[in-house]
């Protein structure tokens, strides 16, 4: 198995999640998760563009991942603003991230080290909001049916990914020689994350 295979696995996982999100859209089109198919379509597009960039144009896809990080983090922070009772935390997180991203891009430029810092900031903000959601859920009666809550599975997927990804990301400059294992690990995290997202749609399936 080589690094290209990991890209295929990631792509397949995202594609499956995207398809499932469309199939079950009728069940959650009135909920706060209604734009999820659009987000998954965006993720799939980013994955395609990054692959084309690397394979055919032989260039660094940093600017593509920069766009992805900005939109992805802001999408989830906005989603947290909709689902959390206390919207002040995700709102402050969004403002912080926007300010950080803007100032960073201006001072360091797109090709600079802004991506690394942006991903770190985004990871921390998403994790903080995820734990806020779990705390709220534990205090509410909805916890009785937590396994059938779409939001629970999405947030669990985010936590699973970022808790695993963040330390690897921080230590990346020191472990860059182990590219194969790092890519394998991140691929597994992606499969788990999008797998949880897929479960979040399947749990809406009516019991026969």
């Amino acid at each position: 198995m080589d690094i290209d295979s990991f890209r295929i696995i990631r792509f397949a996982t995202i594609a499956i999640t995207f398809i499932v999100s469309i199939i079950y859209w009728q069940r959650y089109k009135h909920s706060q998760q209604r734009y999820f198919p659009v987000y998954m379509g965006f993720v799939l597009l980013i994955e395609c563009l990054a692959t084309i960039n690397v394979r055919f144009w032989h260039s660094n896809p940093t600017h593509i991942y920069l766009i992805y990080t900005n939109i992805s983090v802001l999408y989830f922070l906005n989603w947290f603003k909709l689902i959390l009772e206390r919207a002040i935390l995700p709102l402050l997180s969004m403002i912080t991230f926007l300010v950080f991203s803007t100032l960073g891009t201006i001072s360091l430029g797109i090709s600079g080290g802004i991506l690394h810092s942006l991903v770190s900031a985004g990871s921390i903000l998403i994790l903080v909001n995820s734990f806020a959601y779990f705390m709220e859920l534990l205090r509410s009666n909805e916890v009785i049916r937590f396994l059938r809550l779409q939001q629970f599975w999405i947030v669990a997927g985010l936590v699973l990914f970022y808790i695993g990804f963040f330390p690897v990301h921080i230590l990346q400059p020191y472990v860059s020689q182990n590219k194969f294992w790092i890519t394998l690990f991140i691929t597994i995290l992606n499969v788990l994350q999008y797998g949880f997202f897929t479960i979040s749609f399947l749990c809406l399936k009516r019991k026969s």
């Binding site: 779990f134 534990l138 009666n141 916890v143 009785i144 937590f146 669990a156 936590v159 699973l160």
Partner: protein, 239 residues
């Protein structure tokens, strides 16, 4: 991740347990309210019959008799109201209520009704308790559906027998027309509705008591074998 699921599962189980306990408490309260309501159901036919009897004696100028009847009737009503407010009464109090009721009915039947109430020597009647207002409706059924339709005088025997360990049996035996005949008569007259209502109320009370954690009540009714008549047996076990 596993820790996350464990935490959530534990919280879920805790909430389910709390909700179940709340539901159980509400059920207990509901049982209590229902039992209260059932206890306080005095048979309107009995009241009607008693007032009719008093009116009859007054019209016949039998002042002493009507006064006697009125005093006994008002005492009985007072006992009804007092006992129906309580969940349990002593066997002595229950016997007192039955004696009052049966002596009233004896007056109404113009002495054609006789009765005995016997208590086992093993039973401590002053301290042993029984759910209130259980036996009077059964005795009333014996009077109205057994003895009433019989030609000649009738006899009702109420016996309290100790079975040990907070358990005792109450037997109500009459030498009336018997279950089958009473059923035939009831089916042919308006009184069918009254009997089935009091039987329903009694059964409902027994079911509620058995659902509670305090009592186990067994109820049986059958034809007498030695002579014509009906026997009702209730076994009360206090848990």
């Amino acid at each position: 991740m596993i820790a996350l699921f464990v935490v959530f599962s534990q919280k879920k189980n805790k909430i389910i347990e709390t909700n179940l306990l709340k539901e159980l408490e509400l059920m207990r309260q509901r049982h209590s309210v229902e039992l209260n309501a059932l206890r306080s159901q005095m048979n309107p036919h009995f009241v009607y019959n008693s007032l009719n009897a008093i009116q009859y004696y007054i019209q016949r100028n039998e002042v002493e008799l009507s006064e006697n009847y009125l005093v006994k009737f008002s005492k009985l009503v007072r006992l009804f109201f007092e006992f129906s407010r309580r969940k349990y009464i002593t066997i002595t109090e229950e016997v007192g209520l039955l004696e009052h009721y049966l002596s009233l009915e004896k007056m109404r039947f113009e002495e054609k009704l006789n009765f005995t109430i016997e208590i086992d020597d093993n039973l401590d009647a002053d301290s042993l308790i029984i759910p209130s207002m259980m036996l009077q409706p059964i005795v009333e059924n014996s009077v109205n559906h057994g003895i009433f339709h019989k030609k000649g005088s009738g006899m009702i025997n109420v016996t309290f027998t100790g079975l040990g360990n907070h358990t005792f049996k109450v037997t109500i035996a009459d030498d009336g027309v018997g279950l089958r005949k009473a059923g035939e008569i009831a089916a042919a007259t308006y009184s069918q509705k009254s009997k089935s209502h009091s039987s329903d109320v009694l059964q409902e009370r027994i079911d509620l008591l058995n659902q509670s954690e305090d009592w186990l009540v067994q109820y049986e009714i059958f034809e007498r074998e030695d002579t014509q008549g009906t026997i009702v047996e209730l076994i009360f076990e206090q848990k």
